[in-house]
């Protein structure tokens, strides 16, 4: 059925097939802190970007090898969709009720002005969705380049999950302190009444790599960091980078059930720089 329906691949700007939709549905859910998302298709795969204001941006990368089939008629394809609805469509059959059954996915996009067609199949039941695409908004370019990066830490996600789970929910500011000398890495949460600090030494077994060149103290709004915690929860490793303007970039490495590795990148602009 899946094959018969949209077999003629000519005429489609993008055709993507995946045997297990769960690989991307969790990923999409984790960046669904805003309703709209912009999708970019290149030969490397699909990038889904979500922004809130000019201060935060999340990018989820789905490599083309996660798809069993991935073809583009042009070099790049760009469209904007309602991510909330997209996530609902991907989860239409609900959580896997029978272990062993998976939902297969096929996505087709004909081109500018056309809807994104989504076909899902589970146990012989077929859902087809036609999701309207919108004029893509311009995506912010934070200009985060390697040459500007001051500090880079790679650590196991459990460590950061624990730190953030203990942070007072009423906190309004998070301060990151990074330094080549002790105390190396310190996360401070500041609220009206409480200020708490967590220090992670560079030889902690949670830290896989620690590259700090200068002392950097930067403050971020907790409400800007909070939306990224969903992606953090799924991840196994996280890289934290800051550049000379204090821009913060989390990169979460997420392993899917089927053994694929995908990444979610999350930029937070600075609140105050000292």
């Amino acid at each position: 059925m899946l094959n018969r329906r949209y077999d003629t691949q000519d005429g489609y700007a993008l055709v993507a097939k995946m045997d297990n939709v769960k690989n991307i549905s969790l990923l999409m859910k984790s960046i669904n802190f805003k309703e709209t998302a912009t999708c970019f298709g290149t030969e490397n795969g699909l990038k889904v970007t979500v922004e809130d204001g000019k201060s935060i941006q999340a990018n989820a990368f789905i490599q083309s090898d996660m798809f069993q089939e991935f073809s583009l008629s042009e070099d790049t394809v760009t469209f904007q969709i309602n991510l909330t609805v997209f996530v609902e469509c991907l989860n239409i059959f609900g959580p896997a009720h029978n272990p062993g059954t998976t939902t297969a996915l096929k996505m087709c996009y004909e081109g500018y002005g056309h809807p994104l067609k989504i076909l899902l199949e589970e146990g012989g039941v077929i859902t087809d969705c036609s999701l309207k695409t919108q004029e893509p908004n311009e995506i912010m370019d934070f200009g985060f380049t390697n040459s500007n990066i001051l500090n880079k830490i790679i650590l196991r996600s459990e460590c950061l999950k624990e730190v953030f789970s203990e942070i007072d929910a009423s906190s309004d500011t998070i301060e990151l302190f990074l330094s080549p000398d002790p105390p190396y890495f310190r996360i401070t949460s500041i609220s009206l009444t409480v200020e708490s600090q967590v220090e992670i030494p560079k030889d902690s077994e949670m830290i896989e790599s620690f590259q700090c060149t200068t002392v950097a103290i930067s403050r971020y709004k907790y409400s800007h960091i909070k939306p990224s915690l969903k992606a953090l929860a799924l991840s196994t490793k996280v890289s934290i980078r800051t550049d000379d303007r204090g821009l913060l970039c989390f990169q979460y490495m997420i392993k899917t059930d089927d053994g694929y590795t995908c990444f979610v990148e999350y930029y937070v602009s600075i609140l105050l720089y000292q």
Binding site: G94, V125, D128
Partner: protein
């Protein structure tokens, strides 16, 4: 007029609780009809919440109750009709959920200042003593002359009937669709059962294939 029934089997208690909980979601007021063989939960048009489905639920008493005694209004009309709020019955039954060791649930018709359905729940404790929890649910007894206003709904002539395949999957699909649209289109024919929603942003349709279709006589 007397009514007294006792449930012991945990499975029956659970099933009964689920039924009452579902009824509580559908109707604000509901009629309980008690006969020697069966009990009925009835929520018809004007008694149900507007726009909600009407409900006619028949339970065989022998399936649920280990003890069951009832004496109706008279010998010729050996039935009881009560009107009550199913939510009030659902709450005490649901309070049992955390304790799977419930020993028994008794339902009685009592007269405590006003007519009540009394629910007596027997729970074990860590000591040898048992605990007893009593809930009184006010009911009003429906007089004999109004019984005729609760007739069994007649089946209208249906064009088609579909035996739904995998109810859990149908439920999941409907629940997801509910978050996207307030209306859902249902169609069935040629062995396919289809659920469709249409909104400004998306149109979604789910097709269940190989569904058994029947007409109202139950012929496939």
């Amino acid at each position: 007029m007397k009514f007294r029934a006792k449930m012991i089997e945990l499975l029956c208690i659970r099933q009964f609780t689920n039924i009452v909980t579902t009824i509580a979601k559908i109707a604000k007021m509901c009629t309980l009809r008690i006969t020697p063989e069966k009990i009925y939960f009835i929520a018809l048009d004007e008694k149900a919440i507007r726009g909600m489905p009407t409900l006619w639920c028949v339970l065989k008493q022998a399936h649920f109750f280990n003890e069951y005694n009832m004496v109706g209004v008279s010998e010729t009309h050996n039935e009881i009709y009560l009107s009550f709020s199913p939510d009030m019955l659902a709450k005490p039954l649901n309070s049992l959920k955390p304790s799977p060791a419930t020993k028994s649930v008794k339902i009685k018709l009592t007269n405590k200042q006003s007519p009540c359905l009394t629910i007596e729940i027997e729970l074990p404790s860590s000591l040898s003593l048992t605990r007893q929890c009593v809930h009184d649910i006010p009911v009003s007894v429906i007089p004999r002359r109004e019984w005729a206003t609760y007739p069994e709904p007649e089946y209208q002539h249906f064009d088609i009937g579909a035996r739904l395949p995998n109810l859990k999957l149908v439920k999941n699909v409907v629940e997801r669709m509910k978050t996207m649209s307030p209306n859902i289109d249902i169609s069935a024919g040629n062995g396919t059962f289809t659920l469709t929603i249409e909104t400004d942003t998306v149109s979604v349709s789910t097709h269940f294939k190989g569904v058994l279709m029947e007409n109202i006589e139950g012929k496939l």
